[in-house]
């Protein structure tokens, strides 16, 4: 019941929003809808936890062995919660923006939420593929209609990139489907598929390229900085806060347990790509003058670390990925909100043109510093918990042959992330004001509210992460036992 609601509410309210011509009412309608979704998601976490509440299965394409199977396991709960939390935050933070054809904008945002929910909740490979693509289409329209100057070519690149990836994955899905015992797309059947190790190797890349493009992993990342820069910030928040998690999620749910042998065999190759990407993205981030591009490259580095942690396949690193997926979503949305606030007031994102904002907008500065420190993974912030687990996991991995090297290089990239983040804070918020920044006012109530909630979330998870860790423990055990690394107790 709960998972169906989580998909259907944004879907229907999104379709309805196309017909609400008034900007104000469209906005309120969208906010109302995402709040309802959030409430449902929390209900699923707290009150309605019985098996029948959390799983649903309806006939869809029985001839092909595919059904509308959705469910919430620990990982689904976590990412569903992230999706449900992210959208209200985004809508409230950008409440004062006004868009041309606002009803279409909000409708597409809601549809992309429906697509994301579907991806995270699908228990059926074909259904998963359906939603995987459906999440992309609204994002494409959002970016190319409301984005910056170069939006059309940039978004197009993004679309073609992801589409190629998805189609390769589709072949993989079809191939695995023909090797399942009962010719079915159901998740359990996929986990039972018998595929020769030789075939697993090339199948692995069919799947992994799709996920790598989405995350993005070096060398498939070139669409990402451009797209983040050109998209309207609200969409960028969806893309970087939630949508990139689709890639990690895909690896954990649809790749590692389905092709475990290839996942071990190719783990170090993927790990190498990840660490190259981390260092590379961090170095570029240090050179950026544009705030949006800086955050974009920093996101590549963080995603690389999480992907690496999946492929070293240890218990701790897997747990780290789970909690870090949530944390990264929260933190990066916080960063985007700050960027958005600066850009809206000053009409520039150039770091070199800013300075001394802390004097004029102390509220903004305090909140930003906390979010930024979380991005660097300082203790007491949520990212510390995540990265601690990630690094412990990578360091102690028994699967990877080069775990020490990976851990060391990844550690360097964290230092680099401190360099560019702190440098950014210093140059944007401290120092002297210039002509441009002298007239800045502090943030409004709604903006303060959102950033405040995010900061509270950062600190709470940073101090007391246990509920989240317990939530996903079951999934981690199940996945790892599918990979035959750890047997359930």
């Amino acid at each position: 019941m709960i998972p169906v609601l989580l998909i259907v509410i944004p879907l229907l309210s999104g379709l309805a929003a196309f017909f609400i011509k008034q900007e104000k009412s469209a906005k309120s309608w969208a906010l109302f809808s995402v709040m309802v979704t959030l409430v449902v998601s929390i209900l699923g976490l707290t009150v309605m936890k019985s098996n029948s509440d959390l799983h649903a299965n309806a006939e869809w394409l029985p001839m092909l062995g595919s059904s509308f199977a959705v469910g919430l396991d620990g990982m689904g709960q976590l990412l569903g919660l992230l999706t449900a939390v992210a959208f209200p935050m985004i809508f409230i933070a950008t409440w004062n923006n006004s868009y041309r054809n606002a009803h279409n904008f909000y409708a597409l945002m809601l549809l992309s939420q429906a697509g994301l929910m579907g991806v995270f909740l699908a228990y059926d490979a074909l259904l998963f593929y359906f939603f995987w693509e459906l999440a992309l289409i609204p994002a494409y329209f959002l970016c190319s209609q409301w984005g910056g100057e170069r939006r059309i070519p940039v978004t197009f690149k993004f679309f073609i990139y992801t589409f190629i990836g998805s189609l390769l994955m589709l072949i993989g899905i079809i191939y695995v489907y023909f090797h399942t015992p009962g010719q079915s797309f159901a998740m359990e059947e996929f986990y039972k598929a018998q595929i020769a190790p030789r075939d697993q190797d090339w199948l692995f890349w069919l799947f992994f390229i799709a996920f790598a493009i989405k995350m993005p992993i070096f060398p498939f990342h070139t669409w990402q900085p451009d797209t983040y820069e050109q998209s309207p910030t609200a969409t960028t928040m969806v893309l970087s806060g939630v949508m990139v998690k689709m890639g990690l999620f895909g690896v954990i749910r649809w790749l590692a347990p389905v092709l475990p042998m290839a996942t071990w065999a190719q783990g170090d190759t993927v790990g190498l790509l990840c660490v190259i990407g981390m260092i590379y993205a961090s170095l570029i981030a240090m050179q950026q003058d544009d705030l949006k591009r800086l955050v974009a490259y920093s996101s590549i580095a963080h995603m690389g670390l999480m992907c690496l942690a999946i492929f070293v396949s240890s218990d701790k690193s897997m747990q780290g990925v789970m909690i870090q997926m949530f944390n990264h979503g929260i933190n990066i949305i916080g960063l985007w909100i700050v960027v958005e606030l600066i850009e809206r007031q000053l009409h520039t994102r150039k770091i070199s043109e800013l300075g001394g904002l802390a004097q004029k907008a102390p509220g903004l500065a305090i909140l930003l510093v906390i979010v930024a420190l979380a991005n660097v993974a300082l203790p007491l912030t949520n990212a510390f918990i995540g990265e601690f687990l990630l690094f412990t996991g990578i360091f102690t991995s028994t699967v990877s042959k080069h775990s020490y090297v990976f851990a060391a290089v990844a550690g360097v990239s964290i230092i680099l992330s401190a360099v560019y983040t702190l440098n950014m804070i210093q140059r944007v918020f401290y120092g002297n004001t210039n002509n441009l920044t002298a007239g800045v006012r502090d943030i409004r109530f709604n903006e303060k509210l959102v950033l405040g909630i995010l900061v509270i979330a950062i600190l709470v998870v940073g101090v007391y992460p246990r509920p989240l860790l317990e939530l996903t423990q079951g999934t981690v055990d199940a996945i790892l036992s599918k990979m035959l690394i750890k047997h359930p107790l």
Binding site: Y129, L134, F159, L167
Partner: protein
């Protein structure tokens, strides 16, 4: 049998309707009545009601595969008449004759979907082709239309020659025109049989515009009046494909391993050339011509795979492809300017047209939740389950990704670019029908079950 006879008779009726009535509206209503009647008698036959008792001596076989395809073809034609019938009247003065020619083509299609001997195949293909040559040249005062017609006729005559030659050689090798006899006996590829098979393959590849026999397609599709391009690119092409599959399944399935690689190479070339060339087009009409080649490449996958899934998939594909292409063309016909720039800003002035066009284009590109996705899914599944042509499958999806480029250029023009206001003569009925079609495309894309059920009951 019902459909063959009724469509032939109705073609003659349409010819005379122009003599007795000067009003285009009357002619149009006659044509709609005719197509409704055709649909009706075809469904009757599907349910076992034979209106005519003709001893066909096993030269035709009316199995439900052919009848189901006929239903799709007639249904699409009905939609086509409803959407574009008024535009047909702008081509020239002899409206009744255009309708008559189309009914003759439908007669050819019903033969091509039910033949059981090579002679009937030849008859069917020719009955389709000859009216097409005429219909291509209906814009008499337009040089391009004349050129297209002549080109089509010369090339078509040539490929017909190839086909006859092929049939002769096969007759020489097997001693029969009947497909049941041809498929019997040894699977050994004697030189004569092999040559006959090759010639048949080439001539059929010509008819479905598969590479390297596709060179006539862009010029003919571009030169013909746009209303008729729409018909040629959809229903006719689908009919030719059904004949292609029927021929190779009925006669040469036993030799499948021996010709599979060759067909796979033709398929790869078709996919590649169609998609790559479409990228460079400036005119949407020409782009759609190349896109029809590219889509033919996808349909060819059914022949490469040649299994149950492929057969179902091809029928589903023709449905999905015809619906979407008829829709796109119906909108294109209304445009003044056929270049991509001509579509600029359409979303602002004509939101309904732009939205429905987007759905049709998404379906052609094969995005999930549209019929086009399930169609491509079927083709890919068929080819993957065949097991020998993984390289072709990978090439196919890469080409599908390329196709996104040119389909989305139209969407970009409509939604993200600004353009001048255009006056378009669209009626509420036209828009309503487009919306219904778009809804149907989405519906069978999300719930293909009921249509698949139909397919399963048939095979």
């Amino acid at each position: 049998m019902n459909a063959i006879i009724i469509s032939a008779i109705w073609g003659v009726v349409m010819m005379f309707s122009g003599v007795f009535s000067k009003s285009n509206a009357v002619v149009r209503i006659m044509a709609l009545t005719g197509i409704a009647l055709l649909l009706f008698v075809n469904v009757l036959e599907w349910n076992g009601v034979q209106l005519f008792h003709v001893n066909v001596r096993n030269m035709l076989s009316f199995d439900s595969f052919g009848l189901f395809f006929n239903t799709i073809a007639f249904g699409s034609t009905a939609l086509y008449f409803l959407l574009s019938g008024r535009d047909m009247e702008k081509v020239g003065l002899h409206v009744a004759e255009y309708y008559a020619l189309i009914f003759f083509i439908l007669c050819g299609i019903s033969i091509a979907s039910s033949f059981n001997t090579l002679l009937m195949l030849f008859l069917g293909i020719e009955i389709i082709s000859i009216p097409l040559y005429i219909i291509t040249g209906t814009d008499k005062r337009n040089l391009k239309s004349n050129e297209a017609s002549l080109k089509y006729f010369l090339m078509g005559a040539f490929s017909t020659g190839l086909m006859l030659m092929g049939i002769t050689l096969i007759y020489g090798a097997k001693g029969s025109f009947n497909m049941d006899d041809i498929s019997l006996g040894t699977y050994a590829m004697t030189p004569m049989l092999g040559a006959g098979l090759l010639l048949l393959l080439f001539s059929m590849a010509f008819k479905v515009s598969a590479a390297p026999f596709h060179f006539w397609t862009p010029d003919v599709y571009d030169g013909a009046p746009t209303v008729f391009t729409s018909f040629m690119a959809t229903i006719v092409k689908a009919g030719a494909f059904i004949a292609f599959l029927r021929l190779f399944e009925g006669s040469f399935e036993g030799m499948h391993p021996q010709w599979q690689t060759l067909v796979a190479i033709i398929t790869a070339a078709t996919l590649f050339i169609g998609n790559i060339t479409a990228v460079f087009q400036q005119s949407v009409k020409r782009m759609l011509a190349y896109s029809s080649i590219a889509q033919a490449g996808f349909m060819m996958l059914a022949l490469v795979a040649m299994n149950g899934m492929a057969k179902e998939g091809l029928v589903y594909y023709t449905l999905a492809y015809s619906l979407a292409t008829i829709g796109v063309f119906a909108i294109l016909i209304k445009m003044k300017d056929y270049t991509f720039e001509g579509f600029n800003g359409l979303a602002k002035h004509q939101p309904v047209l732009a939205a429905t066009n987007t759905i049709f284009l998404l379906s052609l590109a094969g995005i999930p939740a549209t019929a086009g996705f399930m169609a491509k899914f079927y083709m890919l599944s068929a080819a993957v389950s065949n097991g020998h042509v993984m390289w072709l499958v990978i090439l196919g999806v890469l080409c599908a990704a390329i196709s996104v480029y040119y389909y989305f250029r139209v969407i970009q023009a409509m939604y993200f670019k600004d353009g001048d206001t255009q006056q378009m003569d669209t009626t509420p009925g036209f828009k309503g029908l487009l919306v219904l079609m778009a809804a149907f495309v989405v519906l069978i894309g999300i719930f293909p079950q009921w249509i698949i059920d139909k397919l399963y009951n048939i095979f």
